[in-house]
């Protein structure tokens, strides 16, 4: 299921580092990350605040603004290295080959432009020569796809006349208008009620499955990951500490952070009367990263261990022939061997 063959790889991010310049010096928000996205694969990027997951999404689309900058890495999209593309070349990628939706549709949608105009605008931008009539028809079709009732009439409404859930569905419509290969969704349902969230995800899943669109879902909600994703990337302090299939991540975590994090998520299957397991301490700030593993101070395994304190853990590929796990931990191989 994983790594089905190199020609299946749609996007390949290699050695990506993003730094932010401050008066005190340059600090990395994302440090030497590597991952692949296959065609129609649904990948979740999880991690707590400050881990770098949103910066990763912006970096893929070269939307990092100063004082941030990408200081290393290549981003190969369908065989081409887009990390060297000019801004003009990137404009033909954004919204067409890779789309992005954010948490808050209110700030992403222009409040003084009708919904219809915002959809047709993105269609016309990437389908040069399309007639206004055709673009409008396409817009109506998209609104119907995302289950907005009275689609034709509602083209003329403004964002504030739509509910929160509807606005997010419109964002999905806009993002999918030009049939992108990849949709990046950064906390798309965090601001929504749980029933609205279910509605939006149901529609999103239906559409991406129909169109075979790959999805990168950035979230802190493990429930969404369990329901929606195929593969999971766990980030901590700017690094991808573990990558594995969804089933692997939930059933047997290799990296101690992944294990501690999953355990601290309240799970109705294993509701205990006692205290919830926690991770002591707080995530480090990027201006204060230790020389070795960033998780070491909080790690039940590595806390106090010299190599963990001094040496950044290498990326280790672990395979048993069926599944592949990539883990960045000095104990990764040992832990893998133990579970056999």
């Amino acid at each position: 299921m994983m790594e089905a063959g190199r020609d299946n790889v749609l996007l390949s991010v290699n050695n990506l580092t993003v730094e932010f310049a401050t008066r005190e010096g340059d600090f990395p928000a994302v440090r030497d990350i590597n991952f692949d996205i296959d065609r129609s694969q649904k990948v979740g990027i999880v991690g707590e605040s400050g881990c770098g997951k949103s910066v990763t999404a912006l970096a893929i689309l070269r939307l990092i603004e100063p004082p941030g900058r990408i200081t290393s890495g290549t981003t190969i999209l369908k065989g081409r290295d887009i990390s060297t593309f000019s801004d003009r070349e990137m404009q033909s990628i954004r919204g067409k080959e890779i789309s992005l939706i954010f948490q808050d549709p209110l700030t992403s949608l222009d409040p003084v432009m009708t919904i219809g105009k915002q959809i047709t605008e993105i269609i016309k931008k990437h389908q040069k020569g399309i007639s206004s009539r055709d673009a409008k028809d396409k817009a109506v079709e998209l609104l119907r796809d995302v289950e907005v009732p009275n689609a034709e009439k509602r083209l003329g409404d403004y964002p504030h006349q739509y509910s929160g859930g509807m606005r997010q569905r419109v964002m999905i419509a806009i993002a999918l208008a030009n049939d992108p290969d990849i949709l990046i969704a950064d906390e798309p349902t965090t601001a929504l009620d749980v029933t609205t969230q279910a509605q939006v995800l149901h529609i999103l899943e239906k559409l991406v499955d129909e169109r075979q669109t790959a999805v990168i879902l950035i979230t802190h909600n493990f429930g969404l990951v369990a329901e929606f994703c195929d593969k999971v990337l766990v980030m901590y302090a700017g690094k991808i500490v573990e990558q594995a299939s969804k089933h692997q991540i939930f059933s047997s975590q290799n990296h101690p952070y992944t294990e501690a994090l999953i355990k601290s998520v309240p799970n109705p299957e294993i509701l205990e009367a006692g205290d919830l397991p926690t991770i002591p301490g707080i995530p480090p700030s990027i201006v204060d990263l230790p020389p070795g593993c960033a998780f070491e101070p909080r790690c039940p395994l590595g806390n106090g261990v010299d190599i963990c304190k001094q040496v950044i853990p290498p990326r280790v590929q672990l395979s048993d022939g069926r599944s592949l796990v990539i883990s960045e931990c000095h104990f990764a191989q040992d832990r893998w061997n133990q579970k056999e």
Partner: protein
Amino acid sequence: MSENQHTKELSQGLRGGEDLYLLWVNELVKDFSLRGGGFLGLKEERLRAVDGVSFDVKKGETFGLVGESGCGKSTIARCILQLTKPTAGEVYLDGTNLIELEYKELQAFRRRMQIVFQDPYSSLDPRMTIKSAVEEPLIVHKLGEKQERMDRVEQILFQVGITPDQLERKPHEFSGGQRQRIGIARSLILEPDLVILDEPVSALDVSIQAQILNLLKKIQRRRELTYLFIIHDLIVAEYFCDRLAVLYLGAVMELANRDTLFHKPLHPYTITLLSAVPIPDPASKLKKKQIILKGDPEIAVDRPVGCRFQPRCPVGNDRELCKAEEPALAELEPGHWVSCHYPGELSLTD
């Protein structure tokens, strides 16, 4: 059954033994007027945010108010705390109706109920040291001398994990989780009986949520506190609450103890809500079917007759009784109240 008779039965049913109950909310109503409706914006419309809500909270328990935006849970909290005056209904704290009290009498009761807010980033004054922020309630209520106050402040902050060397710092120097601890300390300094927790962990990372929830439990045990927990995260609600009320557009749909509500719910809205919660476990057998609601919640402005959930209800949508008559909140089994004409019809296991 006449309305008065119904209310009386309801209130007698809800309040089992009087001294057991710390808080009793009875037929609470809160209207907000909206200008700007109608021609020329002159029409004044009324938004009924809370529409006859009744429930009570036993001493020492954690009672959950669960619901989505527009359900009225935050407005109910504000009415209980007398931060806003209800349009109708009563709020009894330990047997006294707070609505009838004069300002000075109310002050004495105010000490007994405190609130912890959702957003640790905006609920602390950025210009005050945390020492001053936590001391402030004592000054407002004119309690203790300077040294006594300082001792209490240090002690309570220590109990929530903030050490004395951090007292002179300002909020921005702390993380979200630490700020929430400070907010909790501030709510406890007056030694209240009731603490209202308004989404206390929603803005926090998962591993920090766990820390704060454990802290809240520990404090509750130690101080015999009663919690009113306003929450939208149903998994956390199941973990934390003893009894819960599910609210929709200002009214109680279902009220029951934890096990009943989560394992044997009867109201279609409760069932839909539970089915919508994503379970953080792909191998889970808990969710057999997911019910997706159509449409969007309507704002309860001059709401027409009938059940408020009917337009979106998988069971009652299009049924005559549901369209014509609002169902009464009825006790279907001891302690289990449901407001529905066809309770139990919806199932997750078909």
